[in-house]
Symmetry: C2
Subunit: 406 residues, 2 copies
């Protein structure tokens, strides 16, 4: 299917393929649920250090970036080692300049660097705009050391003028940091022609494996169908759709479970979680029992978290006991689901289970041209499917009420 | 100094060395604080599968194991895939037999496998004894794949008869699991001559870097001086003493801090945390401000946790901001300290900061003959010292009250 950015023709093609594929796998009620999104389209992009010496930068625009002026932008580059340093810059001090924001993200198994250091991408462009900057360049939000920049979405809140925003690869960022360390003035030329595009078509694909008792609320399991446009989205999130769907099928191998298992292959996750929001709205009147999502690659599940009512403690204990022999530890933190199921979880206060995957390699690949099928380890993928199958087999056969933790 | 098991002559020699070394580094009030412990001494040990075919096992006795009878023990070996399976065995069903308990621990960055899977070592021997077993052998509590077994302490609660208890290396455990999978009966011969020994001498080494204001409660930073007897205890816990002590010295490089920094090089951590308990008792009348410990190897600090009163929120924010540029993420979980400082933390409800180290490799080495100096990466050791120095510089210069979270 290839890259399938939210709103694109390739995302639409992926929906059509998904509908046919889910039908052929034996799913029922397979349908597309359409919605419109504020989209974004990549354009030509390049960047070059011009002062103190010439150096071509590897750059990718961020989603929601606006274009540089015709002919590009050439301006002084001002280095900030952290987002806090950018925040501390006096208002107006960046007028006519390009901000560069660095960060110190490291690879962690739980992916915990993405929260704090990812703010450089999520908030940095809006803050630079508020300080008067003409554009912003950031160190890629990632943990690799190659020349492939990480894209991803940024946001300009109402009242903040959007500016051109791009991410350079880690080695390019390291070079900029070294030059900044010498105290020499820096200038770059910048072309980023990506631009927002309103009212683009997107949609979710939803399919059921009906349970024996249709009166019981279903188990909802999610992933997302769209990908960033730089690669094929194998780990983000083709793997997730493969894992949840295969596990749902395996969970009925020894007979149809009590509850319906519903798969949600969401559209438009990457540009703002529009698919998950649309699902919660479209299905607001239908009660659900529990939601889960797989959207963190295909490396092994190492930890399980729950968001269960106290009345479901024994159910959680049974699930944890089934996962222990797979090397999966139970953690006391609260499960959150994932972007595509969070809106319905919040609206209906659903029970949640997170089967947390090893994220040590994830941010080497995430949102880069390197997110390709060869990165998936079949043995670890299989461990994911085994863990999901064990969990679905238990929860889809639970006759009693299943309730969330708040 | 070499291996320095709690209660041994080498532990005493390490205390003498530590006192001289801390004095030469400029510490004040350097002293040994002695106590007695219920010790344990290793003896001859070997094990061999005799049925269905001969195979020599690599085995280490667990601390608090009692000796096998003269001439050793030969008996049927009964395989349990998990501790839960052992718990489910009928009372008396293991009479005259040797239990084998397997587990599925995997390497996690946060070391979280050690809690649940470590129960096989901590609880397994007592449970096997309660079921009537003559002895127990477990899969080493570790994540490596070599022939070096992991030792460690086990416990027999009052009313439970101690039995011989040992751990075999991962490859040996895998072989036992494969034989069990064939359904063939298994028997082993077992010699474990390690034995408890009462009233052994141990002690803590305590030293101060006095602050400018002696009326302010000190900052307590801990590590432990004893090691297991199979190796030199470089990562457990020589590195911890090096890290906290070097950081304390660096924190006074730009002038003496406001508060006293006290280092506790505890004795007898491994056999039951006796040093930490003795410190809390000996210093019950002295108020402390905050406690920290380094006892998880020398790989990089990746995460910081706090246990601070709400009134110290701004202090925690300042510390987290100083650590962010080192790639250290802040986590909402509660800091616990470590074995050697936990008793005084609990008694005085102290503030705590955990500088959590990357534990991915830790349980490859922990309590094995492979815990040697070559395993320490100087760059990561230096990152630890830098993080500790940054934290100590802030907290030791905090003039206002520092309080724990409960």
């Amino acid at each position: 299917m290839g890259p399938r950015l939210a709103g694109s023709e390739r995302e639409a093609a992926a929906r059509d393929w998904a509908v046919a594929r889910l039908k052929s796998l034996g799913f029922a009620n397979v349908r597309t649920e359409s919605f419109k999104i504020p989209g974004w389209v990549r354009g030509a992009e390049n960047a070059r250090i011009t002062t103190p010496w010439p150096h071509d930068l590897h750059i990718s625009a961020l989603g929601n970036s606006v274009p540089t002026p015709a002919g590009g932008l050439s301006a002084e580059l001002v280095y900030f080692p952290t987002l806090d340093a950018l925040k501390a810059a006096p208002d107006g001090s960046l007028k006519g300049k390009i901000a560069f924001v660095d960060h110190a993200m490291r690879a962690n198994q739980d992916g915990s660097g993405y929260g704090p250091y990812g703010q450089v991408r999520r908030q940095g462009p809006a803050i630079a705009s508020q300080k008067g900057a003409a554009a912003i360049v950031i160190r890629s939000v990632g943990t690799d050391h190659n020349r492939d920049p990480h894209t991803g979405v940024t946001n300009f809140p109402a009242g903040t003028a959007p500016i051109p925003a791009g991410a350079v690869s880690a080695p390019d960022a390291a070079l900029i940091a070294r030059i900044a360390g010498t105290g020499k003035p820096m200038a770059i030329s910048l072309v980023l022609e990506g631009h927002p595009q309103a009212d683009m078509p997107s949609g979710n694909v939803v399919a059921d494996l009906p349970g024996r008792d249709p009166s019981l609320p279903p188990i909802l399991i999610g992933c997302h169908l769209d990908s960033w446009d730089l690669a094929t989205g194998a780990i983000d999130d083709g793997a997730g759709c493969a894992i949840v769907t295969t596990a749902a099928l395996r969970a009925q191998k020894d007979g149809k479970p009590l509850r319906t298992i519903r798969v949600l292959w969401a559209g438009s996750e990457e540009l703002g979680g529009f698919g998950g929001a649309a699902y919660a709205k479209d299905h607001a009147a239908e009660p659900h029992a529990l939601a889960m999502e797989s959207d963190f690659g295909a490396d092994r599940v190492w930890r399980v978290r729950f968001a269960f009512a106290d009345t479901n403690k024994a159910l959680a204990d049974r699930i944890a006991a089934a996962l222990g022999p797979m090397g999966i530890v139970r953690d006391g933190g609260k499960a959150g689901g994932g972007t595509d199921v969070e809106p319905v979880i919040a609206a209906q206060k659903l029970a949640v289970i997170d089967l947390e995957q090893d994220g040590t390699r994830y941010f080497d690949l995430h949102h880069t041209p390197d997110d390709t099928l060869d990165k998936i380890d079949p043995a670890q993928l299989e461990q994911n499917v085994a863990a999901w199958t064990a969990v679905l087999t238990i929860v889809a056969n639970e006759a009693g009420p299943i309730s969330g933790s708040n």
